[in-house]
Amino acid sequence: MTSASTRRGSKLWYLLLIIPYIGVLWVPFYNSLQPEFNGIPFFYWYQFLWVIISAVLTWIVYRATE
């Protein structure tokens, strides 16, 4: 890859954005109480965790495609 195209960033980075959809839209995977985290059921802390993961992935894609 030439330096110019590295700087512009590959469109392939956008594929990372699919990950949050898989993470939170497949509901049966996380509709459970266990494993708990400090008394918080899995269903809840799992989705809160994805807020952060998704924001980080979005930031990475934003930077990489700048």
């Binding site: 939170v24 509709n31 269903f43 809840y44 809160f48 807020v51 924001a55 934003y62």
Partner: protein, 513 residues
């Protein structure tokens, strides 16, 4: 009457009123031009846009209704979380392109873009009408947020005296929106979001302490509410409902005119791109707010006699105000109520501006006054912003609340039908303009039909596929029908040689800085 809370509330309200009028001078521009009044001259940087979009998308109604749903129905109410998680990757892929082409071509509304892209005034008119139709009940619902907190402070008179505080609040809002345009909600959004963050951070620290910690709160919620019901045999049950509500709502959110207005007022493409990674802070906040519904259950406010008349009047929507009154000293409850009420003013202002932009640009100018000057265009928009607010106010005062809620549910089903023209149009012009019109019509009709079959009480339609029941968000199902019709008729119209019109945009417009 809760005088301490009321005093704090009125003080906050006075501050934002002053700010609303002062905003006219902020980043000064000629407010007799529509792009200055209605888009604040496209001058907002990353921070202001963060506040503006945050204040715009996470409305006061959301702050009341999401915890109310958790309070009443349990886990299903948390779909607001995956919804506002997956919306931002979508926005990053799509909406910088809208910003770029709009900036390059001077578009102020989504319908402007559709007009230019497809050379079709008819399609643009339909997009504009759909936007206005979906926005009106949404504005009305913002008033509900104000109504509930005003009621919570002891103003629960009947008749027009009972509505007086609401009328005053809206008259003030209308006045500064008229004079300052989008600058007013932008500057107020900074205050509002600061108040909301303080309130929520205080709430999620203080209240769980009073209630014995998060572990104890979750342990006290009935098992039936804590998780989604396991689907019965032959159905995907609550799983597909939860997933499609989240996904469909995420597709819908940025199609609303007030979202488009927020996007187009940014000063650069980069501002939008960067904000897709920063706005999830509000999503986290929303998740915490949702949990207030559970805290309200555990605190037992429902069965306290002093709150009984309010629950009777406002239903589960009173859960959060009751929790605040119960858990906080009066002055901080007033602070929290101020945050919620001001939180209603920001989106209500932006929504009315967005509807005014649509009416002026895509109905008034092409159909009523084709030769209007820039000044006439801006004056018309200001006037329409007033009319829209009076309409929303009348709606809330004269009609039962359930109509506003039902229309807002329908609004989501309707606005998603603009996705093929608006979103796909940003990437490809393959779909034929008349096929898009047909797809829109069939999508609107089928979506409305599904919601009617549910007696307008909800939007989760039980789709039967070969013996399997897949309950899902009606908006998404109707969108699929819309897309199929649009694709099939594109092939048909192309074969018949129906004119495709001229594209007034160029490929490079969509990437321009």
């Amino acid at each position: 009457m809760n005088w301490t809370a009321l005093t704090v509330f009125i003080l906050l309200f006075a501050v934002v009123t002053v700010l609303g009028f002062v905003a006219a001078r902020w980043r000064r521009g000629d407010l007799n031009q529509l792009h200055e009044w209605g888009l604040a001259g496209r001058r907002f940087g990353t921070v202001v846009t963060w506040f503006l979009l945050g204040g715009d998308l996470y409305t006061a109604y959301t702050f009341i209704a999401v915890p109310a749903l958790m309070f009443g129905a349990g886990a299903i109410g948390l779909f607001a979380l995956p919804y506002t998680i997956v919306v931002y990757p979508f926005v990053l892929m799509v909406f910088p392109r809208l910003w770029s082409v709009a900036h390059k071509r001077g578009y102020i509304t989504g319908a402007d873009f559709v007009h230019g892209r497809y050379d079709s005034p008819a399609l643009a008119l339909l997009i504009a009408l759909t936007g206005i139709l979906a926005t009106m009940p949404y504005i009305a619902l913002q008033l509900v947020g104000i109504q509930v907190v005003i009621g919570a402070m002891g103003f629960n008179g009947t008749g027009w005296v009972g509505d007086l505080p609401l009328i005053i609040a809206f008259a003030i809002l209308a006045a500064y929106t008229y004079t300052s345009g989008l600058r007013a909600p932008a500057i107020i959004a900074v205050v509002k979001d600061t108040l909301i963050y303080i309130t929520v951070i205080a709430a999620v620290i203080i209240i769980p302490e009073q209630l014995g910690g998060y572990g104890h709160i979750f342990a006290s919620i009935p098992a039936k509410k804590l998780l989604l019901a396991t689907p019965p045999a032959g159905s995907w049950g609550a799983y597909s409902a939860y997933g499609t509500l989240a996904f469909g709502s995420a597709l819908t959110l940025f199609l609303y005119p007030h979202s488009v207005t927020g996007v187009l007022s940014a000063s650069s493409r980069k501002v939008i791109r960067r904000n897709t990674a920063l706005l999830p802070a509000y999503t986290f906040l929303l998740g915490l707010i949702a949990l207030l519904g559970y805290m309200a259950i555990v605190s037992g406010v429902r069965d306290m006699p002093q709150y009984a008349p309010y629950f009777k009047q406002y239903g589960p929507n009173f859960a959060v105000p009751a929790l605040m009154l119960h858990s906080f000293p009066a002055w901080f409850a007033g602070f929290a109520f101020g945050a919620i009420a001001i939180g209603a003013l920001v989106p209500a202002a932006i929504m009315s501006i967005a509807a005014a932009n649509l009416f002026t640009r895509n109905i008034y100018r092409p159909y009523v006054q084709p030769n209007c000057t820039e000044k006439q265009e801006a004056s018309m928009a200001k006037l329409v912003s007033l009319v829209v607010k009076v309409g929303a106010l009348a709606f809330v005062i004269f009609l039962p609340l359930k109509y506003a809620i039902q229309l807002q549910l329908l609004g989501g089903v309707w606005i998603i039908q603009t996705l093929p023209a608006l979103v796909i149009g940003l990437f490809s012009r393959w779909l034929h303009r008349w096929a898009l019109v047909l797809g829109w019509a069939v999508g609107m009709a089928s979506g409305t039909w599904m919601v009617a079959k549910l007696h307008f009480a909800g939007t989760v339609y039980p789709l039967h596929i070969d013996g399997l029941v897949v309950p899902g968000y009606a908006a998404l199902y109707a969108l699929v029908i819309n897309l199929v019709v649009a694709a099939v008729f594109t092939v048909v119209f192309n074969a018949l040689g129906v004119a495709r019109g001229k594209d007034h945009t160029a490929g490079v417009d969509y990437e321009s800085e």
